[in-house]
């Protein structure tokens, strides 16, 4: 089935590819805009549930949110993947290489935000940067921002919290990446990097050949494939997350959480960070839950700190990074990032909460 679709999605010309993407996009937008009406009709008219009942409200929330997030997820990931087809890590490395501290950190964090990489790539990436004599601090700026600006997380934030909070999340993540990278860079930690990293000869771009020219048709084809792959990987988490979120939405009383996760509870931010570390691949499922918690009185800063911790500090990634970082540096890395998240959490609780 899926191979048939991707075959169908490979028209022979760029113009055909644009037309196809346009049609699918338009259908998606129309469906997306009518979802609220469809959900209301299904739950309140067809099933005859009372809009004021807890069950009716929970079910309506679920029926509305699942297709909404899946459409948004597919659409945004497709767009992001098209953008990615223009970003080449070797070029990124070349650009960052020429900058010093400060500008270099900002550039690295910005590139980190737009470049996806699965956590299993973080080690080759680290070696590729450090081995090419890019300063450790700049490499860390990239390494911190990249997982935090996870595309799935951003899309869910956009869909559930609105663009203001998605933007806040983006800016805080980039700031943490820049500042933490600069601090780590100043600490002269090179001796805590495993020795083989510096001894690995890194071939430069000129040796590994000229970049190939890619047509729009291929860009769209590739973007379709990665969209399919990511959606297939996360859809279940999203549905389970929305299911739990729907339950909270319908059944948990308003303000039930303000004493536990509210801005008044000083320990809610550190607790959120610590709790977030072991939770990992469920980033897709955790955000719908957090959005429901927020509605019930949790403070925004604590919620953001929790999400950042879940996404940026994950146990599997820490274990993978141990291959290139000696325990001391690994601990400092986790500590500095956790501190950055803590400060962000408190700052938002103070400003908005």
């Amino acid at each position: 089935m899926s191979t048939q679709i991707s075959h169908f999605l490979q028209p022979s010309s760029d113009r055909g590819a644009f037309a196809l993407v346009g049609i699918i996009g338009a259908v998606g937008v129309v469906a997306y805009m009518n979802l609220k009406n469809i959900a209301d009709w299904l739950t309140y008219t067809l099933m005859g549930l009372n809009p004021d009942s807890q069950f009716g409200e929970a079910l309506n929330f679920f029926i509305y949110d699942v297709p909404k997030l899946l459409i948004l997820l597919a659409g945004m990931i497709f767009l992001i993947s098209v953008v990615h087809s223009f970003v080449d890590l070797e070029r990124v490395r070349e650009i960052v290489e020429k900058r010093g501290e400060g500008t270099g950190n900002v550039m690295a964090a910005l590139f980190g935000a737009v470049t996806p990489f699965c956590s299993c790539s973080s080690v080759p990436l680290f070696i590729g940067f450090v081995g090419a004599r890019i300063p450790l601090g700049i490499t860390f700026s990239f390494l911190i921002t990249s997982p935090m600006m996870n595309q799935v997380a951003l899309v869910l934030l956009l869909g559930l919290f609105g663009w203001e909070i998605a933007l806040l999340y983006l800016l805080s993540g980039i700031t943490i990446g820049v500042v933490a990278g600069m601090i780590l860079g100043r600490m002269k930690l090179e001796r805590y990097v495993e020795d083989f990293v510096f001894n690995t000869p890194i071939p430069t771009t000129s040796e590994s050949g000229e970049p190939v020219k890619i047509s729009w048709r291929e860009r769209f084809g590739g973007a379709w494939e990665s969209t399919e792959e990511i959606v297939r990987r996360v859809w279940l988490y999203v549905i389970v997350g929305i299911g739990i979120g729907a339950f909270i939405h319908g059944f948990v009383p308003e303000d039930a959480l303000s004493s536990v996760m509210g801005a008044g509870a000083w320990w809610s931010v550190p607790a959120s960070v610590v709790l977030g570390i072991p939770l990992y691949s469920n980033a897709a499922g955790i955000i719908p839950i957090v959005s429901a918690l927020l509605e019930k009185g949790a403070a925004l800063g604590s919620a953001l700190a929790f999400m950042m911790s879940v996404i940026a500090l994950s146990l599997p990634e820490i274990i993978i990074l141990r291959r290139v970082l000696k325990p001391r540096l690994l601990a400092i890395f986790v500590g500095v990032v956790a501190l950055g998240i803590l400060i962000t959490g408190y700052a938002f609780n103070l400003l908005i909460g």
């Binding site: 699965c118 299993c120 790539s121 080690v123 940067f129 000869p201 430069t204």
Partner: protein, 80 residues
């Protein structure tokens, strides 16, 4: 004989790339020898920063993704 190397530390996509490469080359009846490169230093030695990567006769042909069947066969034919 075509020397095929799959670079990656064993993540899901690396395993998928190996399966795809084997399936594509078997189907095209191209003779090959496939090795998995899992050591990070060796992977970095190819200049690869995103895994999985596919190397044909010591030349990196793709990084950070699992290429399509036909694409693998085309690359293989150019080098076989």
């Amino acid at each position: 004989m075509l020397q095929v190397k799959v670079l990656g530390s064993g993540c899901a996509n690396c395993q998928r790339l190996e399966r795809e490469a084997r399936a594509a080359l078997d189907e095209a009846t191209i003779e090959y020898e496939l090795t998995k490169v899992t050591d990070y230093a060796d992977i970095a030695g190819y200049g690869v920063m995103q895994t999985p990567a596919l190397v044909l006769n010591e030349e990196v042909v793709s990084t950070g993704r699992v290429p399509k069947h036909e694409q693998i066969v085309t690359w293989a034919r150019e080098r076989a």
